[in-house]
């Protein structure tokens, strides 16, 4: 509880006790009448309502009439005035104000509590960095002040404050707060480590490679905090609704207070002003749209918070909303469904020795970061020998050519061999990616590389199907045979293989054009390496395992912190649950309010019901919204 909440709680208790006390002494036989009675009851009313009255007056002064303080002020002052004329029962006015304040208090408490819950979930921000001083003593400094290339020391139990490379020490890292992955990761000298991980066992010396504000942890926090500023359709609807709704209710209340009595007078009945003014006041109490205005953004915020806790970063409420309508999921194969770690499984030279063929291929791929290049270099350990490699040229969708020891060597797929006119032939024994090698334009043989499917990929597809995804599609630059084998293993509906990066974009466009209705959302999942254009073209782009890959984080709408595909299914489930809760709250709040308005107009609802319609609904909606925070993990065993 903060100061304001404490103060208001005391006001609520004091005024409630005073009211009961007064009721006890003045209620039954009404010994105390007239002005004294009014003044006595005025005391608890002022205690509980003074700030509302002041706020209402300020509202009028600033020409902001339709605010809830004014509504409450009019309603309770009106009830007081009616009591003076009618029966001297002031309790109702005080009770309404009291209940309103209790509701406000509870709301402020609940929102504060959930705000704390959510920020605790996202409590990955380090407060300090340790720098070793000249005398060997550790000194705590603001992470903002650490320059790139400084050595920071992270003790066991501390968070890594800034991204960097381990210079000294070995340890296990807890990445759960960042990725939702509970399995610890080991880090040793030379490994890259990201900020936000908790150092569990050993002392680490880390050389920073980024400034604090560019480090993973700062990026992630900024992303989450910005997320709720991209508003969803539901939120915009509520804002618009609130803008129309409050004035509409106020004018209806005015009409309800004036029109029926006038009509009754005209047709010769008793005008009965008191009854209708009372009904109008009830109207005003019901009118505040706060339940909606607070619970919808809160639901989204809690949903985004819960998602980030399990390693799914959503960049805006609007994306969460769109994702919930996903009907088609398109996957990139490599790095998404498969590990993307290629291994050389066979070497079939035509003239050279196996070793020599691998040697040439590894040299050509010396500077490339493509997974195939890495696996070729991994297979040929002596790559860093003295051979001359120059004029390296990467030809997208074909391969790489380079001059090795004075000879032009081509390493690539069959398209590349066709292009240079080398007479290639396919591998008859192995399935996998075939890397052809040619020197000059003479074919030298091929190397077979294959990729391994990730352990949770099949489970992911199954889980997506049961979550109501109609269609799963796989796009890959890989050859048809490999793609078909993987697709069959994972039970994917459609496969498009041998695509160049630009083909993937046109493929996505084709899928988008073939949508049955506007509401069928197409999701694309990629690992962020050279599929940024596809990520931004799809209705929702999900980048996975994108820690540190800035371009992918930029282009994607949703970022999965680790590279486990099951998180795709988790993300869709979170979005569905969140949207379900949002809709529940919209219908529940609007429904109850409209019902109470009708009952109020007909005279069946009193102030008490009205107060429930206002604050009771709001509290229930807030509690419902908090449910978005809890994410059920999908069991993969």
């Amino acid at each position: 509880m903060n100061k304001k909440q404490k103060k208001n709680l005391i006001r609520i208790i004091v005024s409630a006790m005073l009211m009961i006390f007064l009721g006890f002494f003045t209620g039954k036989d009404k010994q105390i009448q007239g002005v004294i009675r009014f003044v006595l009851y005025l005391v608890p009313y002022i205690i509980i309502g003074y700030d509302i009255i002041i706020k209402a007056l300020k509202g009028i002064k600033n020409r902001q009439p339709f605010d809830e303080s004014l509504l409450m002020a009019i309603a309770t002052v009106g009830a007081m005035a009616l009591a003076v004329y009618k029966d001297g029962d002031y309790t109702e006015a005080i009770a309404v104000m009291l209940f309103y304040q209790i509701g406000e208090w509870f709301q402020s408490y609940a929102v504060g509590k959930s705000r704390k819950n959510i920020t605790e979930l996202m409590d990955i921000c380090p407060d300090y960095a340790n720098i070793e001083g000249e005398d060997g003593q550790l000194e705590q400094v603001d992470p903002d002040e650490v320059e790139i290339g400084s050595i920071i020391v992270v003790q066991p139990g501390e968070k890594i404050p800034i991204d960097g490379i381990v210079e000294e020490g070995e340890t296990t890292l807890d990445t759960a707060a960042l990725t939702g992955e509970s399995l610890p990761r080991t880090a040793k000298k030379g490994d890259e480590v990201i900020s936000g991980c908790i150092n569990m066992t050993g002392l680490l010396h880390i050389r920073t490679t980024k400034e604090f504000e560019d480090s993973t942890v700062s990026k992630v926090l900024e992303l989450i905090e910005d997320a709720s500023s991209k508003k969803s359709k539901s939120e915009n609807f509520i804002t618009k609704f609130a803008r129309v709704y409050t004035p509409a209710v106020v004018y209806s209340a005015l009409a309800l207070a004036i029109l029926p009595p006038i009509i009754r007078m005209v047709i010769g009945m008793d005008a009965n002003f008191g009854t209708f003014i009372y009904r109008a006041l009830t109207f005003l109490v019901i009118s505040c749209p706060c339940a909606l205005v607070v619970s919808i953004p809160l639901s989204f915020f809690a949903g985004i918070g819960g998602a980030s806790h399990s390693g799914v970063l959503v960049k805006g409420s609007n994306y969460l909303e769109t994702l919930s309508k996903a009907k088609t999921v398109v996957f990139d194969k490599t790095g998404t469904l498969t590990k993307g770690v290629f291994q050389v499984t066979a070497i079939h030279p035509s003239k050279l020795s196996e070793e020599e063929l691998l040697h040439m291929a590894a040299h050509v791929e010396r500077y490339s970061n493509h997974p195939i290049a890495i696996s070729l270099r991994d297979a040929y350990k002596k790559e860093a020998d003295g051979c001359q490699v120059s004029d390296v040229e990467e030809i997208a969708g074909h391969g790489v050519k380079a001059v090795v020891n004075g000879k032009i060597v081509y390493v690539g797929n069959s398209k590349m061999m066709d292009a240079i006119g080398a007479k290639w032939h396919n591998c008859s024994t192995h399935i996998g990616t075939i890397i052809h090698v040619a020197i000059g334009n003479e074919y030298q043989g091929h190397i077979v590389i294959s990729d391994v499917v990730k352990p949770h990929s099949a489970q992911t597809i199954k889980s997506l199907k049961s979550a109501g995804i109609n269609q799963t599609v796989m796009l890959t630059g890989d050859i048809k045979k490999v793609a078909d084998t993987v697709a069959e293993e994972l039970k994917i509906d459609k496969v498009y293989s041998e695509l160049l990066p630009q083909d993937k974009v046109s493929m996505i466009e084709k899928i988008l054009d073939n949508k049955k209705s506007e509401n069928d959302v197409v999701v694309f999942v990629g690992d962020g390496i050279n599929d940024a254009p596809v990520l931004s073209r799809a209705d929702i782009g999900i980048a996975m395992g994108a820690m540190g890959a800035d371009a992918a984080i930029e282009a994607a709408d949703i970022v999965l912190m680790d590279d486990d595909p099951i998180k795709i299914s988790t993300a869709i489930k979170i979005s569905r649950k969140c949207l379900r809760i949002v809709n529940e709250n919209i219908w529940f709040a609007i429904g109850i309010k409209l019902a109470c308005l009708v009952l109020g107009a007909l005279g069946f609802a009193n102030m008490w019901l009205a107060v429930f319609a206002d604050v009771g609904v709001m509290i229930l909606a807030v509690l419902n919204a908090i449910r978005c925070l809890f994410v059920k993990e999908i069991d993969c065993r």
């Binding site: 600033n62 902001q64 705000r115 920020t119 709720s228 500023s229 706060c290 953004p297 809160l298």
Partner: protein, 74 residues
């Protein structure tokens, strides 16, 4: 130029009103108020000094919602 300020406000509807008021202030290109994180992000128009604009933003917000605060001073 974009800047983020801590704010204090009690209800979500009031936060929405503050956002409207901040947006209409001269020198402000765009503003968003995040009720859950209690932060106001203000995008300023080019060539204006945030320290000149923020007092006006605060004043305008105070007009629509008396019970609010923007912490823009260091």
């Amino acid at each position: 130029m974009k800047k983020s300020y801590k704010i204090d406000v009690d209800c979500a509807n009031c936060a929405a009103k503050m956002e409207e008021a901040a947006k209409k202030t001269a020198g402000v290109k765009d503003a968003t108020v995040n009720f859950m994180t209690l932060k106001m992000k203000v995008e300023f128009e080019e060539g204006v000094d945030p320290m000149d604009v923020m007092p006006v933003v605060r004043e305008n917000c105070k007009k629509v919602e008396d019970d609010c605060e923007i912490f823009y001073k260091k």
